[in-house]
Amino acid sequence: MTAQPMSIAARPHRPRRLTQFLARHEAWPILPFAVILAAFVFMAVAASGLAPLEPTKQSLLSRLRPPGFTSSAGFVYWLGTDELGRDLLSRIIFGARVSLAVAFLSVCASGVVGTALGLIAGYYRGWVEIAIMRAVDIMLSIPAILLAIITVAVLGPSFFNLIIVLGFTRWPRYTRVAYGQTLGVANLAFVTAAKLGGAGDALILARHILPNIIGPMIVVATLEFGLMVLFEAGLSFLGLGIQPPTPSWGAIMSVGRNYVGTAWWITVFPGLCLFLLVLSINLLGDYTRDRLDPRSIQR
């Protein structure tokens, strides 16, 4: 027997301090990814301070220069330049802002709408439930990327349309989970007890049911967040998302594809960033799920 017995009951329910949290061994493997995510968030927030150059500033004389290229003025392009001579590092830093903003806003939009519909379907049942859940089934049977392409074709590509498209295609995920959770919670005695206390439906949903299902909803949201970053990159890669000259990792890679034989760095660095960001989000999402659902720790 080399496995160490792990006492679940002995662990504190909620760590009071960060040091206490870090002292627990199972927090260690996740730490580098938390740092990576924090770095990307910092990059996005402080993009204008961090980027060495304007992300849209062209310099046609120094097109497609490799990483480490130094201009005649002594400026070092650490990640090289793109096909219009723009600094790739600056574009990637600003691209983080686009990626995270789109992902965050679309998760908010689809999460709020989806959770609300799931709560309503699970609480009121009857024809409302049938209408909402059949709509969910229909939405989930349509290929998401196809739906996104059609919606963008109708609305036209822009930052806000992208968020609307992502919100519109992703809400059923939240609705399914919220619906299932609400069904479980709505029949518990404390909900009837709240009715007994004279509480109305809105108060019961907001004060008693929503807080009791918020854990699973947060887990869905974290996993969706990673997916949204990929979706934004994918749609931008296809030319349906963020439009040039605004820097987006997907759009940068899309252009870089044409030069991949001569200027590999244009595709590789945004791709690497995308990979690291989505990986850290997904791993942190899994970790959150394990923390919120004590049963899955033992599996």
């Binding site: 049942r125 009857g126 518990l188 005695a189 404390f190 009837t192 007890a193 709240a194 009715k195 007994l196 206390g197 004279g198 509480a199 109305g200 004060r207 008693h208 807080p211 009791n212």
Partner: protein
Amino acid sequence: MAGPILTVADLAVAIAGRRVVDGISFAVKTGETLAIVGESGCGKSMTAFAIMRLLPQAARISGGAVLFEGRDLARIAESEMKALRGNRISLIFQEPASSLDPLMTVADQLIEAINAHKPASHSEAAAHALAMLRAVGIADPARRMRQYPFELSGGMCQRVMIAIALACRPSVLLADEPTTALDVTIQAQILELMKRLRSETGTSIVLITHDMGVVADMADRVLVMYAGRIVEEAAVDDLFQAQHHPYTMLLMRSVPRLDAPPKRALPVIEGTVPSYAALGTGCRFASRCPFVSEHCRAEEPPLRQIAPGRATACWHHERVAAAGMVPA
């Protein structure tokens, strides 16, 4: 005692067209404790939930009236009902642990119930909540106020539930098996508490239970239900003295007795409650009844008054009562 505070007349509850509660009538006087007894699934809880208009979605009140403070609770608008529920007429549940929201402190839940009917400032409501916790015998109420339900024991949760149910001083309290989930010592404490609160506040109690010991301890009058109908009604002492319905008699015999010889098999009522789909024209207890006759299978006996305050739904009640006198 004055006239009845709550009158239930010919109440019926249907689930998918089947009457699971059928023709229930009773009256509760001020300060009285009425017990409703019967085995699981006989419609006791459905009756309570119907009175409170908190029936599950599949069930609905299909007939009858519930008269309370001059209004018919079965017919008034939901908004009117909301004003009465938990305020003038209240309910405590079987499962104390799941009756409290796991994510709210005791104080928040009590204050929410108080504010729903008697809006007050936060400090007033909190003071009232504290007083209620003290009244239901919770030690160190100020500390308990800040705790979450998982930090409380089952008996403590039930005390909190009682505090919530009584916070607005209802004139009728329905208690749906309030002690079933608790162990016997806690059970005794909760019953003692309910008795004390009844004498202090004059609240009428409708006590739903399957425990004859609880009935003997608490009730003034008893209704015995079987398969959705009342089969016998009597004052508690009269009922324990002599049973006029075979179901009541067999129910009493199936209670373990301290004076019975040890290791003797406990008498049971043979068979099971008929499914509501299979109910025929005759008496619902006919298939399990030792006194059954042709008459019973052909025609359902109505609930008839046989003495003041005493009624039974059996064609052979005299024979049953006589048989009950002979020790089994």
